[in-house]
Symmetry: C2
Subunit: 339 residues, 2 copies
């Protein structure tokens, strides 16, 4: 199996621990793409403080590249391309970012990312490739090559159903990836339905992530302020209804387990952290894709839709702040008659 | 008429210009309550840079008091008490703040404040007093006793209908207040229906103020980002429907005129400014009271209700920041089973 070539794109907090986990199993030859801290990581590697692996100084995989293009310049054909970047299709399309490293009909793409219905753009571009779903519960942060990994690496690997390929082939790829990644320190298991895990995670991400991002409070304060009961829980029921219409019956206690998951912590969900830092938010893959599905299935989403439209404006602000979009110096006056 | 005693409470940006306008007409003996900058204003007065009155250095009215209690210590019975504070019933109840200066059955209360259904707490406390409504379009800011008054002082005075008093009495009080306040520099007119003016202003305040406050953008960027069309305009239709159910038919072009009112300006509405400065927002009088009316009249408010619940959480955050409320150090764990 050491002739299995794996490329990981996006070695931040989560990505580096996924990379380290794969390197630890020694079941593949691992390359990574590091964009932001390339010079430093190439020189001195990562310093890792991990709840699972302890302290590791100066860790490096087989190859470190500054770009995806550089990772294929040597002619390597990757068997797996693992993508652990943030998923911001309104800014960077991951299927285009990763494309140079994906061999049509061969490379198995693994999306360890937040969000819903992530495989569609890959299936459009690479109709005969397997695309795997990795839902991870890890907690890990990267500060310029120093990793603080505080919540154990627990992940569920499934495949996004590609109608052009036999299910057995897709299942085999998923299980092969589990064997590359799973070790005695982490927990990586095969799960038969990507959809169910994605919906389960959305019960949290679409409702607590979003409301906290809009209101500027952690999940504890949200509960204290009444917003959990007034907004997030009714929004959770909308997610459950979409899942149901999509053929996925979520567990009866999903709302309860989701909420009590943060028990005792004044926890700031990732979307709130992004807003506070002025970083664009994973809005389209978390809410945008979900609402497209809801519309197709004709499920009413009164709260989620308002949250989405509000966050689209927040995203506009964050993008302007980062210079991704600009507005004219003078506010344009439109003749439009509003009715 | 110079034996008419007027007390103004809340001499900030708007309040000081209202006070100055009344002082300018010389139709009353004017006292003001200045809480924040009392020492400075008592000593050196206000420096005013006004679009209506030009530059005035060291202006002072007849009396300046640090508290409402101090304003009545001399035994003055006020004929008018004009309240120009922010209206934050969830923090300070203005009817209680002003109570010492209000003589039951005598003092006419004038509320020059944002919001809707403002007279109710006064009618509960002072069932036989006239309560006037002042809707002002002024633009004026106060920085420690220096006033920058940039948009002309245009106001509409009406009475909130007190069922215990003859309409003629209430109308006469309103017109008397106009004569005290109106001069050759400002524009102060009697308007027969407070309700209609309040609803008109809510078409803006309930929909643009709120959405801008939640998303952190001005009204121009809101339009650019698509939030005006997706959220504010549909929310305006909800306000119009509430008004209609309440017997007020707003002009057909009210949405259009409201939106084009900010033409050419990247304008930050007051609620956004408050959020940015970390000040509590006038949520209850702008949205809370409106939604109570909507509920009573059984008008559906899918967007306004979500905006309200989100802003309640924002208000919680702002109050915590100001030390008005606190949360325990450890996040409490509730046994509650969420369903």
């Amino acid at each position: 199996m050491v002739d299995t070539d794996v490329l990981l794109i996006g070695a931040g907090g989560v990505g580096t621990m996924v990379a380290f986990g794969m390197d630890y199993t020694k079941q593949s030859k691992l390359s990574i793409v590091v964009r932001k801290d390339f010079a430093k990581v190439k020189e001195t590697g990562y310093d890792i403080h991990s709840v699972d692996y302890g302290t590791v100084k100066g860790w490096k995989p087989s190859h470190i590249y500054p770009t995806v293009e550089a990772s294929v310049a040597t002619g390597t054909v990757y068997d797996f391309v693992v993508i652990t970047t943030k998923n911001l299709p309104d800014i960077v399309k991951v299927e285009e970012l990763a494309a140079p490293a994906i061999t049509p009909g061969h490379t198995c793409v693994v999306l360890i990312q937040n969000g819903f219905d992530l495989a569609k753009p890959f299936f459009d571009k690479f109709p005969n490739n397997v695309v795997l779903s990795g839902v991870t519960l890890i907690g890990s942060h990267n500060t310029h090559g120093t990793i603080h990994h505080t919540q154990t690496d627990k992940s569920f690997i499934s495949y996004f159903e590609n109608p052009n390929l036999p299910q057995e082939v897709q299942e085999a790829s998923a299980k092969r990836f589990v064997s590359i990644y799973s070790n005695d320190k982490n927990s990586c298991t095969y799960a038969s339905s990507a959809k169910e895990f994605r919906y389960k995670k959305l019960v949290y991400n679409a409702t607590l992530n979003t409301v906290c991002a809009l209101t500027g409070v952690d999940t504890g304060r949200l509960e204290q302020a009444g917003g959990l009961a007034a907004l997030s829980i009714p929004a959770m029921r909308e997610v459950i209804a979409i899942a149901q219409a999509d053929g996925v019956t979520l567990p009866k206690d999903v709302i309860n387990t989701t909420i009590h998951g943060d028990d005792g912590e004044w926890f700031e969900p990732s979307m709130l952290v992004d807003v506070k830092r002025g970083n664009p938010i994973e809005l389209e893959v978390i809410l945008g894709n979900l609402l497209k599905t809801a519309e197709k299935l004709e499920v009413e989403t009164p709260i989620l839709s308002v949250l989405y439209e509000l966050l689209r404006v927040v995203q506009f602000r964050l993008k302007e702040k980062q210079g991704i979009i600009t507005v004219p110096k003078e506010r344009p006056i439109y003749d439009k008659v509003y009715e």
